[in-house]
């Protein structure tokens, strides 16, 4: 279980097969986010149709609602949400630390208030693992502390706590059928990242996550941080860059040896009428599209693109029809999954490194909204 076989390399980029109890993942892989045991507005059938393989769900949210014990009693997360391919849960750490106003951290754990009803709760490494064992994802995370990446003193403190918590998380694990990943922290501080990479690598977990780069870190700093971290990680373990997923981040991450990504971006953009397209990100509410008979992306093979015009999707948006979010979510997720499929082919062909400028250029306009389409 949890074998990771690298089938091809191109400079630091790798493509391979990560074996999990719910099937093999072809890496590099992009995971859609299903925070509350659902990828917003999509059915599991939609996810299968776009060739999604790994789905992430959030420990903090599921612990609060419907409760991890309920999910366990319903047969676990896969059965509950009827997603029978691999799943990953985070540790709850990131979400809890995001509740800046209402949480108190000590060396043992974190006390926080629910965003739903204000009730008080406490996470420790042991509690996080217990929740994740109840949820039953294939890949689970050690409990960690995210810091302001630009604050060296705090990043050091959080990193040291993250290391102690990683050890406690490993001790707390009882299920052999879940791959528990340690998490490298250290903000954008090069010395701390190196220390953390070496420490987490020494724990010999079946994979290694890199946390703390999804918010507050500039794009250049992200690349520099990965340049320090990945060379210090074992080659034969999958590497997961947590919560990072603009198209540019994916390309740059793969180039630096990352294997697994997740991000809410494609589905969140979709709910705000924004779609990845060859000419750049489209705001499909724009009147420009009122009579546009083209699909969002003529090169895309998703249900949305082979079926509907931009004009129709724009009508749905203007008429406040929820189907718009569903259709754009299908496309945006498929766009990133296709990007990863393409990248895997390029790595296998040995041409990924030479395609990077073209890929970055192709996706450059998707970083910003194009107002007039």
């Amino acid at each position: 279980m949890f074998d990771f076989t690298i089938t091809a390399r191109n400079y630091r980029a790798r493509t391979g097969i990560f074996t999990t109890p719910h099937g093999d993942l072809l890496t590099p892989v992009f995971a859609p986010v299903g925070t509350q045991a659902t990828v917003k507005t999509l059915t599991p059938e939609h996810l299968q149709d776009i060739n999604a393989s790994l789905v992430l769900s959030n420990t903090y949210h599921l612990y609060l609602r419907p409760g991890d014990e309920l999910v366990r009693d319903m047969g676990g997360l896969h059965k509950f949400m009827q997603w029978h391919r691999p799943m990953l849960t985070d540790s709850g750490g990131f979400q809890v630390f995001s509740l800046a106003q209402t949480r108190k951290i000590d060396d043992d754990g974190v006390t926080f208030k629910s965003h739903i009803d204000g009730s008080t709760h406490r996470f420790t490494p042991e509690k996080s693992i217990s929740i994740q064992e109840n949820l039953g994802a294939d890949v689970i995370m050690a409990f960690d502390e995210c810091s302001d990446p630009n604050d060296h003193a705090y990043s050091k403190l959080a990193m040291e706590r993250t290391h102690r918590w990683a050890e406690r998380s490993l001790k707390a694990q009882t299920r052999p059928d879940q791959a528990l990943f340690g998490i490298v922290q250290g903000g954008v501080q090069t010395d701390l990242r190196a220390t953390s990479a070496k420490f987490i690598a020494s724990l010999n977990t079946p994979g290694i996550a890199i946390g703390g780069l999804s918010v507050g870190a500039a794009s250049l700093k992200k690349k520099e941080t990965l340049d320090i971290v990945t060379p210090l990680l074992p080659e034969n373990k999958p590497r997961y860059l947590m919560g990072v997923g603009t198209p540019e981040d994916l390309i740059n991450g793969v180039a630096r040896g990352i294997d697994i990504f997740d991000c809410v971006l494609p589905t969140r953009l979709a709910r705000h009428h924004s779609a990845f397209a060859p000419e750049g990100r489209l705001n499909l509410m724009n009147a420009t599209f009122a009579r546009d008979e083209k699909p969002i992306d003529e090169t895309c093979d998703c249900y949305t693109c082979i079926t509907f015009t931009r004009a129709y999707i724009r009508h749905l948006i203007v008429a406040k029809e929820l189907l718009a979010g569903t259709l754009i979510s299908i496309h945006n997720l498929r766009a990133l999954i296709r990007l990863m499929e393409q990248i895997r082919i390029y790595i296998t062909d040995g041409t990924f490194e030479s395609h990077i400028p073209e890929l970055l250029n192709q996706w450059a306009n998707n970083a910003k909204r194009i107002v007039n389409g």
Copy 2:
């Protein structure tokens, strides 16, 4: 085109085949409502999967947004929304008359204000037909006036106007590939309904609609009205009972010779967490269902019922996930479509009349919400 072949009868109930440019409809048929060129929260794939055959869309809404000329220029309603089976549009009359505060009726037509932006518009029979020709549904409606069904004086006035408008609608029609139905009005006034049925029958339209019974008419009055109207209609034309669609209404309507139904009820209930089930209508938000591992309906063959538990759907509702509305809509629509499939079998077998008490009993609890499941 628009042949209607009755293949079996059982007392007044009939089953048959109504031929349209987008395929044959097996009657009796229940049509999901896609007001704004989308059955709310569902893709056309979902509708095909539940064996929907006829979809209704609303002239008033599409005229205002995105505009009937835009729909025409995009290839018509079928192509625009990618529904390639038969479609029906109403005349806009019902919606306009619902805008009680802002509309002014005269003998020539109706002036009204848009519910979207308050702008002033005018519908006449000629305008309604022109819009419906731009939309391009297979079955279209004459422009009519709905009255308070219990007000005899107003119902007489509205009926007489409806008759004059039906003649004008027929004169205005230019497309031969749309079946234009005349509409019987007259409230719940037996004398008026008889007059109207005879007059509309005399127009020799390819089908006949019965309007004015979807709101404000008691269940008993609906049945009495149908008992007067349908015997006065030609046998060889399909009969469409507009906007009526509780399970009880469907059963009673078929028993009185109705062939076509539509109603927003199944999808509207779904968005309010209410599902048709063997034990009666379920409010799936109820805590009773938190750990209920059964599907909504164990006898149902829809994607929702073969895939998800009540516990999961309840979680989606509580977590305010839109997927809940999609999943319950799939089931509620499938439930009524299955009911019609069953009714067609019973009529063919000659056993429909004897099954009526059982069917009414089976669906009786679905008329009211069962609070504790």
